[in-house]
Amino acid sequence: MRNLFNTKLKIIVILAVLITAVLSVMSGLTNRSIPELAIQGILAPFRAAGTALTKTAERYYSYMFRYEALEAENEALKASIAQMMDTARQSDATIRENARLRKTIGLTEIRESYDLADAYIIGWSSTDWSNTFTINRGSNVGIEPNMVAITENGEVVGLVTQVGTNFAVVKTVLDSTLEISATIATSGYNGMVSGGYIDGNEKYLQMDYLPSSSIIRNNDQVVTSGSTVYPRGLILGYVVDAGFKETGVAKYAVLEPAAEISSLEQIFILTNFHTE
């Protein structure tokens, strides 16, 4: 048997182990290493081109083979819009009444204004436990780590974790390592929302630390409770299930994310928000 495991291979193996150790330490210390930013910066145009090609192909496929389905979806959306417009008309009266009552009791109105930067998704992570994607905008439009990504309807998508000049990595709400303080809009119960990967619900969110006495109903809207990172009132999801934790002292709720993460194309990064 030939001795192929020579000194060179031994050196390579030792180097690999050492590099792994160094990179592990480095990744714990910082998420802005220069080689990472350089390589991802180089790859960003290729990823953008790949995504554009995929989108074009999907569009043609939908046009050719899903025409009837799209027509039906369009009809359903028209009906939904009509219903929402009716709700909006009804809410106008409620808003006027609310303003009148505020004026009566002298309650100041809290308004939040946002500065947004739009971006397109150019790549998705394919690892099993992390749920991240890459967008085509970075520090060149003022995006920084720990900025919130939302949809055009104010639904939370995730948090920016890494930024290069022409790209940024967003960790989605489905990632179990991302925790957001949230409130059930109708009842006011507070809890922490994170991705449900560990609990076997990788397409859902899980809201923990709810009081055991809380009454949770299906389709209850869950919004952000407000922090230095997340502004108040951004929609996280809707309750689809609830139950007691194994300890029995707290309840949990399973939420369907408000944003359809897997079908997103364009998102908005909240570069700044002011509370007035």
């Binding site: 192929l4 690999a16 592990s24 990744s27 990823r47 790949g50 394919s126 099993d128 436990w129 992390s130």
Partner: protein
């Protein structure tokens, strides 16, 4: 007659004596010229002159890099959204392992180390441990193939495929150790390994064709 002629003896050559060194008179110069002539022109690209074979080999490695980048982009933009029972392929890993096993332990070992580092920095790798896992498993598969089998399509595919499945299994173990995954997700990781092996079939022909550029330079 011409036959009766005696062969001529060549006349002994006179040895040339080396020219006598002329004694030069030293002249003291009173004025020192400030003019300095240019140094010899050196073309910085001259040492990089490639032979035809070297050009072909460079082209081959550029094509390998191109395939790896293409696989990475396809994986990130298309394949990561196509899932079967929650599993997807790992195209970049399959390309890297195939190239390593095909090129042999001498060149492949350096390639897999560099490629895995770049793969980690590209942001597509699950973590820094993929550098160590890919290098060790890629090397083990290459050495195993060279020791046990001759170079053939089936042996290369088998060893690279086994390395891919072992890589996914190792990722699962690391994830389990770090608390990132749960025990009942093992089938999903193994299915990812199987899908990666399936992706190796079309990739093999592409990489094999690229490997033929510049002829076979490997030796076993």
């Amino acid at each position: 007659m011409a036959n009766d002629r005696k062969p001529r003896r060549a006349a002994p050559r006179k040895r040339r004596l080396p020219p006598k060194k002329q004694k030069t008179k030293r002249v003291r110069r009173t004025l020192v010229s400030e003019f300095k002539p240019d140094g010899p022109r050196v073309n910085p690209l001259k040492p990089l002159r490639f032979t035809h074979l070297q050009w072909l080999q460079t082209l081959r490695w550029l094509c390998y890099v191109g395939v790896c980048v293409l696989c990475l982009v396809i994986q990130d933009t298309m394949m990561s959204r196509v899932t079967i029972f929650g599993s997807t392929t790992d195209l970049a890993v399959s390309a890297m392992l195939l190239i390593t096993v095909m090129e042999g332990s001498e060149v492949g070992s350096v390639f897999i180390l560099i490629a895995s580092i770049i793969y980690y920095f590209s942001g597509s790798a699950p973590g820094p441990y993929s550098v160590g896992l890919l290098t060790v498993l890629g090397l083990a598969a290459t050495v195993f193939r060279q020791v046990v089998w001759n170079r053939s399509r089936s042996s290369i595919m088998l060893c690279a495929g086994l390395a891919a499945i072992a890589y996914e299994f190792s990722l699962y173990l690391v994830g389990l150790f770090l608390g990132l995954t749960v025990w009942y997700r093992l089938p999903r990781f193994l299915l990812t390994g199987v899908l990666t092996v399936a992706a190796m079939i079309p990739l093999y022909y592409c990489i094999y064709r690229i490997g033929q550029i510049g002829g076979y330079t490997w030796k076993e």
